[in-house]
Amino acid sequence: MAETKQQEPATEEGKKNPALENIQQLGQTSTPPTGESNIFCLTIIGQVEGHIVLPPQNKTTKYEHIIPQLVAAEQNPKIEGVMIILNTVGGDVEAGLAIAEMISTLSKPTVTLVLGGGHSIGVPIAVSANYSIIAETATMTIHPIRLNGLVIGVPQTFEYLDKMQERVTRFVTKHSHVSEEKFKELMFKTGELTRDIGTTVIGADAVKYGLIDQVGGIGEAIMELNQRIDEKRKAAMTAANGVLV
């Protein structure tokens, strides 16, 4: 049902003996592990599944799995940077914003890469990282939130919907260079989508509007993340030296 792929930072099995060997041979307990990545890669694909378990025809990313993964990534000293790869059609507002908030508050360097699509609730997730990259062919659909289920035709319904929309708008404008006016203009544009109001923003356009930082692919994303990891290491080193002196 849910497909999340990630590198496994460490398994507990077989760790004791190498540690003992390290003490005997090198006089230290841990050595830089070989073949083990210092980057944690999180993929958000299909629907972002929230409080309702969706029927099996949906390919989903479960937020209750993503959130502890981000906690683990923040806590695990072996992970130095987080790479988020997006190809999502949207999903639950609460779940999507929860993931976006988690990513934006990580202390480790984060880079998002939008491949294929980062639509609807994928937009706040895409802008949540320190740096965002979009593939040239990738698209992001920005459209208004719709209410489903029982809708009562009173002004309060509209106000509620407007508040929910405001959460998304505020997050996106806070975490990217797009202005609120521009984002709302894209959201309520007519004549762009066949059956809906809104805009489909493709690759370079997302950068032009200030939503995403750069057009690129995996090479640029890894380079950017490594650069940020290095900067953080250097900052930590100078801070440590400063204390010693």
Binding site: M1, E3, Q47, V53, L54, G90, E94, I121, I145
Partner: protein, 76 residues
Amino acid sequence: MIHYSIVPLDDIYQGMDSFSPNYMEITVQGVTMQVEPVGGFQARIVRLHSCNPQDYLNTRYAPGTMITYSPDLSAT
């Protein structure tokens, strides 16, 4: 709950009324998880209930992974 997606809601919720999964909770090597049995002693992981965040980084316990389990009769 509000769904914010480009996929039409009809497509998302199609088959929702007949969707009644049979989940059960098991513990595999100390990790409590919700699984969907698929026959024999095989099950598909639905979600983890573990409180250890590192368990969620273990690819063997990612949702959708098939696991083989056997009933532990010693506890009863």
